[in-house]
Amino acid sequence: MNGRALIDLDSTPRLAPHMRLRHDKAREQWTIQAPERSFVLDQVAHAIVSRCDGMTSLGAVVDELCAAFPGAPRELIEKDVITLAQNFVDKNVMQT
C-alpha cells in the first residue's frame, strides 16, 4: 500500500473531517474526539493543531509558534511540529 503521506514544512494538513477539536470542561484540557478514541492535547500540541487549517503550511505554523513562544529554539519547534503532524496523519487524525 502506498497511501502514506510524508509530511514536511510545505505540507498544509488539517484535522480529518470526522475529528473534532473539543475543550473538555471537566478536566480543563483540549482534546480531539474521534471514533472510539480521544486524544488529549498538551499546550504545545493544541497550539499546533489549532493552527492547521488546511491552508497554512507547517512552515508558517512554525513561524507563528516561534513568535508565540520566544524562549523555544526554532529547531525544536520544527521537530515538534513535523513529528506531531506525521503521527496524526499516520493515524488518520489529520490529512493533507
Binding site: 497511501g3 470526522h18 470542561k25 478536566r27 471514533p35 472510539e36 480521544s38 488518520n92
Partner: protein
C-alpha cells in the same frame, strides 16, 4: 474514598430488540422487553447528566439502536450537550433516508458490524438472510454522507480464515478503522463457546496477520484488535477498570459499570430514572464495589500490574468461578487459569460447529 475521576464515555444501550441472532451476542441472557425500555425524555435527561458528569462521547448501541424511532431526537440531544456521537449498528435497517435524518441530527460516526466477508457464512452466523447486501448498502450510504466508518468484525473459529478478506473489504468500503474483535465469552457467547473458540495455534496465526496488516495499511486503515483473553498471560484491562472510564445504561435505565455486569447475580444496580447519574457514578454501591484496587485478593493485591489491568474482568471471574471478587481466570497467576485454558483447548479441538441461536421475542416485536 476520594471522589472518582469522571467517566469518558457513555454506552447507551437503547434496546435489546435486534433482527440478527448472532450466537456471540453480548447482551444478557434475559433480554429486556420493549415495554420496559426507557422513554425518550428519560434518555435525554440521562444524556445531559452524562455530559455534565464529564463524558465526552456517547455510543448508541443495543440490540439494534435504529429500531428506536426516537434515535434522531437522542442524537440531537447528545449533540446539543456537546458529546461526540457514535452509532453502533448492524446496518440492516439503515437506508440512506434514515441515515440522512440521523446525520442532520448531528451523528458523527457509524460503526457497522459484519459477520464475515463471505455473505453465506455471514448470514448463517447472523441468522438473517439478505443481511450482507443490506450492510454493504448501509456502508455505502455512510460514506456518501461523508461520515467516517468503522467496520467491526467479530472473529472466531468459524470465520477467522477470512481475516485478510475482511480487512480488504473494510478498505474497499472506505472504512477509516476496522475492529477485529475475538469473541469475549459472556452471556450468550459463553453458551456457544464450543462452537466459537479458536485453538491457540489459530490465534497466534491471526495475531501475526494483524501485525503484518497494520504495517501494510499504515495511514490507510486503523486496525484495533481484541484477543480472546483465555490464551493471554495477563487479563485484559476490562473497561479500563470498573467504574473508571465508562458507564453503560441498559434499555430499562439500569446504570452498569459494563454491559455484562448484570450477569453477576446478587448485585443491585441503580436506575437513572430514580437517581442522578453523577450520584450513581460517585456513590453507588455497585460502582464502588470493584473500583480501584482496595477490593482485590492476592495475587492481584501485590501485583505490579494491578493499576494496568485493574484486576481484569469481574464478569468473567463470576462466570467461571462463581465469585466476582476472585482473580480473573484469564490471568496466568490465577488458580483457575489452567482449568480455563484446558476447557478452551478441549472445545477448540472437539470443533463442534453447531450454534445455539438466540431469538428476540416474536416477529412484530421490532416496532416501537
Amino acid at each position: 474514598m476520594t471522589s472518582p475521576e469522571p467517566p469518558l464515555a457513555l454506552l447507551a444501550e437503547l434496546t435489546h430488540r435486534c433482527p440478527l441472532q448472532c450466537p456471540y451476542c453480548s447482551n444478557p441472557l434475559a433480554l429486556e422487553k420493549a415495554a420496559n425500555e426507557m422513554p425518550t425524555a428519560d434518555w435525554l435527561r440521562a444524556i445531559d447528566e452524562a455530559a455534565a458528569l464529564g463524558c465526552l462521547q456517547v455510543h448508541f448501541s443495543g440490540g439494534e439502536p435504529t429500531v428506536r424511532r426516537d434515535l434522531e431526537q437522542l442524537i440531537a440531544g447528545a449533540t446539543a450537550a456537546g458529546l461526540y456521537t457514535n452509532l453502533i449498528t448492524s446496518g440492516v435497517a439503515l437506508d440512506s433516508k434514515r441515515l440522512a435524518a440521523l446525520v442532520a441530527a448531528g451523528l458523527e460516526h457509524v460503526q457497522l458490524s459484519f459477520q464475515d466477508s463471505d455473505a453465506a457464512i455471514a448470514e448463517r452466523i447472523g441468522g438473517y438472510e439478505g443481511a450482507h447486501a443490506r450492510k454493504l448498502a448501509a456502508a455505502k450510504s455512510v460514506r456518501e454522507a461523508g461520515l467516517p466508518l468503522t467496520a467491526n468484525f467479530v472473529v472466531h473459529r468459524q470465520n477467522l480464515h477470512h481475516l485478510t478478506e475482511m480487512l480488504d473489504m473494510a478498505v474497499a468500503m472506505g472504512a477509516h478503522r476496522a475492529e477485529i474483535a475475538n469473541v469475549q465469552y459472556y452471556g450468550w457467547a459463553l453458551k456457544n463457546r464450543a462452537a466459537l473458540m479458536p485453538s491457540r495455534g489459530q490465534l497466534e496465526e491471526m495475531t501475526a496477520m494483524i501485525m503484518a496488516a497494520r504495517k501494510r495499511l499504515e495511514g490507510v486503515l486503523v486496525i484495533d484488535y481484541v484477543v480472546p483473553d483465555y490464551y493471554a498471560r495477563r487479563p485484559k484491562s476490562c473497561m479500563g477498570g470498573w467504574g473508571r472510564r465508562f458507564l453503560n445504561i441498559s434499555p430499562s435505565g439500569k446504570v452498569l459499570p459494563c454491559h455484562a455486569a448484570e450477569s453477576i447475580t446478587g448485585m443491585a444496580f441503580d436506575n437513572v430514572r430514580q437517581r442522578n447519574l453523577g450520584n450513581i457514578w460517585r456513590d453507588s454501591e455497585a460502582f464502588n464495589r470493584f473500583r480501584g484496587t482496595g477490593w482485590m485478593p492476592e495475587p492481584c493485591r501485590g501485583c505490579d500490574r494491578k493499576e494496568l489491568d485493574w484486576g481484569g474482568c469481574r464478569c468473567q471471574a463470576f462466570a467461571i468461578t462463581g465469585d466476582a471478587a476472585r482473580t480473573d481466570p484469564a490471568c496466568g497467576l490465577s488458580e483457575d487459569h489452567d482449568r480455563l485454558v484446558e476447557l478452551a483447548t478441549d472445545e477448540a479441538i472437539a470443533a463442534a460447529d453447531g450454534f445455539i441461536y438466540r431469538r428476540y421475542g416474536a416477529a412484530g416485536d421490532l416496532r416501537t
